[in-house]
């Protein structure tokens, strides 16, 4: 195989539901990747699984797979790789197998990658010198152990390669580094290993994975110069057409909207990156500063020169722990001095709660439309015609947060003139899962591959 063509049709859980189908139809892909897991998605899935042991995965994927069935039948070479398995990759895999069977694809096997979930062995790890100290503060996890709901190591590309080597049509993983969803099929297609000699091409493929992992963010989404001509309504999702040395072209299906150019790709190259010379994944420490971008055609950017600087002996671990409750509500304030009235209305709301005996661990008032989204940095000019008042609180007591949500409606009659917009009812109370990043020695994590 000379090149491998990988398209990413989903950048997060909640992304456009039609994009995977459109991309698979028009992309001439070897692999379709679908990325569902943001930093805190696992905690939400963990709670779902606590309530229902058969849940705990990104259920949207099964709807997508159902629609992909006919396309998989038409394109026998197309394979799917997704981290939709979340906290229950096996459960997701079993359901996927049923869907494939119903689509007349009962010969298609599903590979399930697990072993990322460290909860079953968490106390054993903590008891044997693996403190899972907070990556920023150094505080040992033991300080919040009783509130931990999920702890998942970011696995790398190797188990994905193992699953693909066995011939499965679909690979479903739990927590895997986003870029590894691309590195896996590339390493499989070209027979790469994961040793010293492979570092540069692993680094180069990691650049590809990083660029496409957020879907349309590589193809015109968030582009600082996007305008009416960009055609974002019909935005195409990204495709990396990768050569055996890891260099690739980035593009999107012909006839779609959006844009692929040096600007869109440069912006995405540095998205959610700290040191661009050391982008650490389980597979490689990739160096993004050696990458060269060249526009070689309309909506085609050649990406060469990606390198790898080594590999670490740890996996990053994403841990979530219960941290109370939160809610945020809004009202619309219209008329002269709207920003001032909005902020005062927020203060009145909190005053009334205080008089009723409720104070909160944290509270926050924003006059949106008056510059409060980046507080104190940018001020709006003049007197906005209207602003949205938003008040948010967080507190360990659910009852306190519930009481808070009932204090918005009274302002419609007992606040300032021009107070309106109370149409969606009381805001929902949400449990807070705080994020706790840590590292764990690779030697104590056992990635597993199961073929269904």
């Amino acid at each position: 195989m000379n090149r491998v063509r990988i398209g990413n049709g989903c950048g997060f859980w909640g992304d456009n539901l039609d994009a995977p189908v459109r991309l698979a139809t028009a992309g001439r892909l070897d692999y379709l990747t679908l990325e569902y897991l943001a930093e805190l998605t696992m905690s939400i899935l963990a709670v779902q699984k606590q309530k229902d042991p058969t849940a705990g995965y990104a259920a949207d994927f099964l709807d997508v797979l159902d629609r992909l069935g006919p396309i998989l039948a038409e394109q026998p070479g197309l394979r799917i790789i997704t981290n939709a398995g979340g906290m229950n990759p096996r459960g997701c895999g079993e359901k996927a197998r049923e869907i494939l069977s119903r689509a007349g694809l009962s010969a298609c096997q599903v590979g399930v990658v697990s072993g990322d979930d460290l909860m079953p062995q968490l106390d054993q790890l903590l008891g044997s010198g693996h403190g899972l100290n907070h990556l920023d503060t150094g505080v040992p996890l033991a300080s919040v152990r009783d509130r931990v709901v999920s702890a998942n190591a970011y696995l790398g590309a190797r188990p994905i390669v193992e699953a693909l080597d066995s011939g499965v049509r679909v690979v479903i993983t739990g927590r895997v580094a986003d870029a590894s969803l691309t590195v896996g099929p590339t390493a499989h297609a070209f027979g790469w290993g994961f040793g010293e000699a492979d570092l540069d091409r692993l680094g180069a493929a990691t650049v590809a994975g990083h660029l496409i992992e957020c879907g349309a963010q590589a193809t015109g989404g968030l582009w600082m110069n996007a305008d009416d001509q960009t055609g974002l309504a019909e935005v195409g999702y990204p495709i990396a057409d990768i050569a055996s040395d890891g260099s690739f072209t980035l593009t999107k299906p012909a006839g779609t909207g959006g844009a692929v150019n040096v600007e869109t790709v440069s912006e995405q190259l540095l998205y959610e990156v700290a040191d661009p010379a050391r982008y650490i994944t389980p597979d490689v420490v990739a160096d993004f500063t050696t990458v060269r971008l060249t526009e070689t055609g309309p909506d085609v950017v050649s990406v060469t020169g990606g390198t790898g600087r080594g590999v670490t002996d740890t996996y990053k671990v994403s841990i979530a722990y219960r941290d109370g409750y939160t809610a945020a509500g809004t009202l619309l304030i219209v008329g002269p001095h709207a920003a001032e009235k909005a902020r005062r209305s927020g203060a009145i709301l909190l005053d009334r709660l205080q008089h009723a005996g409720w104070t909160f661990a944290a509270s926050y008032i924003e006059a949106l439309g008056a510059g409060d989204s980046v507080p104190g940095v940018v001020r709006s000019n003049g007197d906005p015609a209207e602003v949205v008042l938003r008040v948010a609180v967080r507190d360990p007591r659910k009852a306190a947060v519930e009481r808070f949500t009932k204090e918005f409606a009274p302002l419609v009659t007992s606040g300032f003139p021009g107070t309106t917009g109370y149409t969606t009812g009381r805001p929902p109370v949400r449990e807070v899962f705080a994020y706790w990043p840590a590292l764990i020695a690779k030697t104590v994590v056992r990635p597993q591959v199961e073929i269904l």
């Binding site: 912006e267 990156v273 526009e295 055609g297 926050y364």
Partner: protein
Amino acid sequence: MTTIRVPLSTVAHGRSGDKGNHANVAVIAYTDTGFAWLRTHLTREVVAAYFAPLGSSRVERYEAANVRGLNFVLDDVLAGGASRSLRSDTQGKSLAVTLLQMLIDVPAEHGEMLRPRQTLRTPEGTGNPA
């Protein structure tokens, strides 16, 4: 040298995002001349001062000269991050457009720092500024 004050967006574009309670803001110069200027003048101290009201604990600057990029990492700037923050923008998505509004001094003759206008055209007529 005579200078004039312009928004940073005159000479650069960019993007921002989150990692836990930290955010990164990438600033990408349109030209080599602009990058050389920003490398000298858009220091981490300047960016830290601009975002000071957000209460970041530390600002670091990294370079990606290959894309004319300066990448600013702002520690603890998100008031708790995606889950805990009470702000509307819990993930720092607004920080790039905000930084690009910052006024900076550039040479009065700064034509070589502006965004090039040459445009590749697709058959469908989609504009793709190079």
